[in-house]
């Protein structure tokens, strides 16, 4: 390796206009429309792949969201039968209640499958992770750029399979594909196989992304960057990737066996043949519990970045936060049985219950460290920060209600009720999605070189936050009162009180959707007429802010960065009481200085 040659200041490279310029923005078109399309379709630039994932995931989020609104519309009014005529919402018409129920089963299954496999699992790692992981560690790309592109196409293929299953009439298995729903309903029809294949294929995409990131973090850190100089986002994505690599193969074999079971009835999960349906549940949750941490760890990782940067404070307990990610990743593998409290043996349940409580420890460590970080920070209430604060609120509710479910005696009552629905929406939507939207705002100026409208972002936040809580908090109450999940209606005679609570929830879902559209509008507005973003609008100290322009050039950095201080050493570097964006970093000026 050549001798490191350090500059204090480097001249900005002048460059001409028109034609391809390796020092220009990665977004710059390289030619006409066709060339541009071909360029994106064959790109191995992690930034472009990240952006393509972002668009695809947001589209899928929209699709899944439409199904969610349909679910809430159906639940707004109970189905009743008066003088032989059905009175109900949306799916209930004519005189056949079973038909409406059947549609409802499909709608919630599709909602769950799309949201889990096509949105939340890939969400943060594949989009923001792809874009920022290399930038944050000062690398030019991920370790295997072509594998990265391949995993994007595998994701697309999986999505196409899911859409084919949807067009064939959709599946009614629930997102968990439990046998016998997934093996016996509508026998002879192939759409369930298409859907399971979709999940199987998406698994490969997930494995390849995870594998790529693990190697990237190990091998491509900038000179001078030790493990404990890595930004916490990198730690979170790293822990996530390890789970993806280690857990996904198990769902792979499970889904393969399930396909064989469906096609040839090989009997592994079929008691008539001597097989064991509970074995499927064990297999499924051995993957799917760790995967809930694949969903949440990247969210937590974003929150660490936002809180440190927007309150300009050194993260309190950096190592504790980093290690708690690894601890969560480890514990994630030994608690799957808490999803089987009602189907496995009693001794197993007791053990799994005890183990489940362990998860709460590293989780709480993180929450307390974030709050302590905020203490006496110079908090800027930007949209990303609002989202981080919102996350602390909603995620805490989600995590704490998890403890109710981890306790055997309470879970026997709450299992399979709306309490479960509320719990996992508080962690997945209130955790991952809230962090994801916050992260998109935080990094938006870097990704597209434009500022978004702060007022618009804040309006969006409040609508999302209020709408979310209004949608899901009432569901805790419904659950404790015995409203079962996955039912298209309920017994109105014995539970007259349910209707109002359901309607609150439905109203909330409307506000939530409105908030999402406000965000969409703010993003589009920013792309078209947003202010040009400075290289470091928030005054962050990590490489993507200090060494890359907004948007970054194709090879990320004009000069390979060297790590000389910790990611959050604000106390040493930033004078007190400086407004974000106002302070100029000491040396050197950011690589994108030429933009303003």
């Amino acid at each position: 390796m050549a001798t490191p040659h350090t500059h204090d200041q480097h001249a900005s490279h002048g460059h001409g206009h028109g034609g391809y310029d390796p020092h220009g923005s990665y977004l710059a078109a390289k030619g006409g429309m066709l060339t541009t399309i071909r360029d994106w379709a064959t790109t191995i630039d992690h930034k472009k792949i990240g952006v393509m994932y972002l668009v695809a995931i947001l589209f899928m989020f929209f699709l899944g969201g439409m199904f969610a609104l349909a679910i809430r519309a159906e639940m707004a009014v109970p189905t009743t039968l008066q003088n032989g005529v059905i009175h109900g919402q949306l799916f209930q018409s004519g005189d056949d209640i079973a038909k409406g129920n059947n549609i409802y089963n499909r709608v919630f299954s599709l909602h769950g499958i799309i949201m889990v496999f096509l949105v939340i699992v890939p969400s943060v790692p594949a989009s923001l992770g792809n874009f920022f992981l290399p930038l944050l560690i000062g690398a030019k790309d991920v370790a295997f750029p072509r594998l990265n592109l391949a995993s994007w196409y595998i994701y697309l293929t999986g999505s196409v399979f899911a859409v084919i299953a949807l067009v064939m009439g959709g599946v009614d298995t629930g997102w968990t594909f439990y046998v016998p729903y997934s093996t016996m309903t509508e026998e002879g029809h192939l759409k369930v196989v298409w859907m399971i294949l979709a999940a199987f294929i998406l698994g490969f995409s997930s494995i390849f992304t995870g594998l790529n990131f693990v190697v990237t973090v190990h091998k491509l850190r900038a000179p001078g960057m030790g493990w404990f100089d890595m930004p916490l986002f990198v730690w979170g994505i790293y822990a996530t990737s390890i789970i993806q690599v280690l857990a996904t193969p198990v769902i792979g074999i499970t889904l393969l066996l399930l396909i064989f079971e469906r096609l040839f009835n090989i009997g592994v999960f079929d008691p008539r043949m001597g097989g064991d349906p509970v074995l499927f549940q064990h297999f499924f949750w051995f993957y799917s519990h760790p995967v809930v941490y694949v969903m949440i760890l990247p969210g937590m990782a974003i929150i660490s970045e936002i809180i440190a940067v927007h309150s300009r404070k050194q993260i309190f307990g950096y190592r504790a936060v980093a290690f708690s990610s690894l601890a969560i990743a480890g514990i994630a593998f030994i608690v799957w049985g808490h999803h089987l409290f009602t189907s496995q043996g009693e001794v197993a349940s007791v053990i799994f219950s005890a183990l489940t409580f362990l998860v709460a420890i590293p989780t709480a460590v993180k929450v307390f460290n974030w709050i302590t970080t905020l203490f006496r920070g110079s908090i800027a209430l930007t949209t990303p920060m609002l989202y981080a604060l919102g996350f602390l609120f909603t995620f805490s509710i989600g995590g704490l209600t998890g403890l109710f479910l981890g306790a055997l005696s309470t879970d026997l009552h709450l299992h399979d009720t709306y309490f479960i629905v509320a719990h996992f929406h508080y962690v997945m939507m209130g955790g991952t999605i809230i962090a994801f939207i916050g992260g998109i705002h935080h990094w938006w100026p870097k990704m597209f070189g434009k500022m978004y409208n702060e007022l618009g972002g804040k309006i969006g936040f409040w609508l999302v936050f209020v709408g979310f809580n209004l949608t899901f908090f009432p569901q805790f109450i419904l659950g404790t009162q015995g409203m079962p999940r996955r039912y298209a209606s309920y017994d109105i005679v014995n539970n007259p009180g349910f209707t109002f609570i359901h309607q609150l929830s439905t109203a909330g879902s409307g506000i939530l959707a409105l908030g999402m559209f406000v965000h969409l509008f703010v993003f589009l507005h920013s792309l078209v007429m947003g202010r040009k973003a400075a290289a470091n609008p928030w005054g962050g100290l990590t490489f993507e802010w200090t060494h890359a322009s907004s948007p970054p050039i194709e090879h990320n950095f004009e000069h390979e960065p060297v790590c000389t201080h910790g990611p959050y050493d604000y106390d040493d570097i930033v004078p007190a009481n400086t407004k974000p964006g106002e302070f100029v970093l000491p040396t050197p000026s950011p690589a994108g200085a030429r933009h303003h």
Partner: protein
């Protein structure tokens, strides 16, 4: 923060950048631009391959767990089942695979030592072994089993079954050996690709990453079989 000038990174060993470079590919080969040098790239690829192989091991572990649970539930069906399997082709296949593991390991060594002829020969033998494995499997095992109706699950129609759970045993047998055979086919494709590249002199002492990766994969395929063979054919 300081910076290192990227433009200084062209490793001296990569030779003149202008004019026709007449050296063979494996000497001309430069690492992708985000790696420092060939060694850095080699390390990264090797780590990636190991991670991928760990996913393969986990995939098959799932299969073995299913085997263990069902064997525990229905020991007689599994004992009967293993009596129906023919050990001779099973053993032949074990030997064939072990031999192929040896030849592909030798191929890596040949590349490191620049023995181009032997490299191609060893890759060729490996591929022939892989094909032989499949031929033995299909001609002496799958073929007769299909003819007798010893098929998985609902396709099972062998009249001489002793235990009602035998279709289940055949389910496990077909799933496990089928998934393994698919991996063998994947191996054949990759080794053929290596052969084409070896023919073009792509590999040599300075560049043999792909051979090393495929060899590791092939060892895993071999090891899985080493487990499947006793579990399915030998234990009663």
């Amino acid at each position: 923060m300081a910076t290192i000038d990227t433009h200084q990174h062209g490793a001296p060993s990569t030779g003149p950048s202008t004019g026709f470079d007449s050296r063979p590919y494996h000497e001309r080969y430069k690492a992708a631009s985000h790696f420092r040098d060939r060694e850095h790239e080699f390390d990264a690829v090797k780590m990636g391959v190991w991670l991928f192989l760990s996913t393969e091991v986990l995939l098959f572990s799932g299969m073995f767990v299913a085997y263990a649970v069902l064997r525990f539930l229905h020991p007689e069906a599994f004992v009967n089942g293993s009596h129906y399997l023919d050990r001779i082709p099973g053993l032949a296949n074990t030997i064939v695979l072990l031999l192929s593991s040896y030849t592909i390991a030798s191929a890596v060594r040949n590349a490191q030592l620049g023995q181009f002829g032997k490299l191609k020969l060893n890759l060729l033998i490996t591929n022939l072994c892989a094909i032989a494995f499949l031929l033995i499997k299909f001609i002496f095992e799958y073929g007769p089993k299909i003819a007798q109706g010893k098929l998985p699950g609902k396709l099972f129609h062998y009249p001489g079954a002793h235990d009602p759970s035998e279709p289940l045993w055949w389910g496990i047998y077909w799933a496990a050996t089928g998934i393994h055979a698919t991996h063998v086919i994947g191996g054949i494709i990759m080794i053929s690709w290596l052969l084409v590249r070896a023919n073009k002199r792509h590999f040599g002492p300075t560049h043999y990453t792909a051979i090393e990766g495929v060899a590791l994969y092939w060892h895993i395929v071999d090891i899985v079989w080493i487990f499947l063979f006793p579990l399915l054919y030998l234990i009663h």
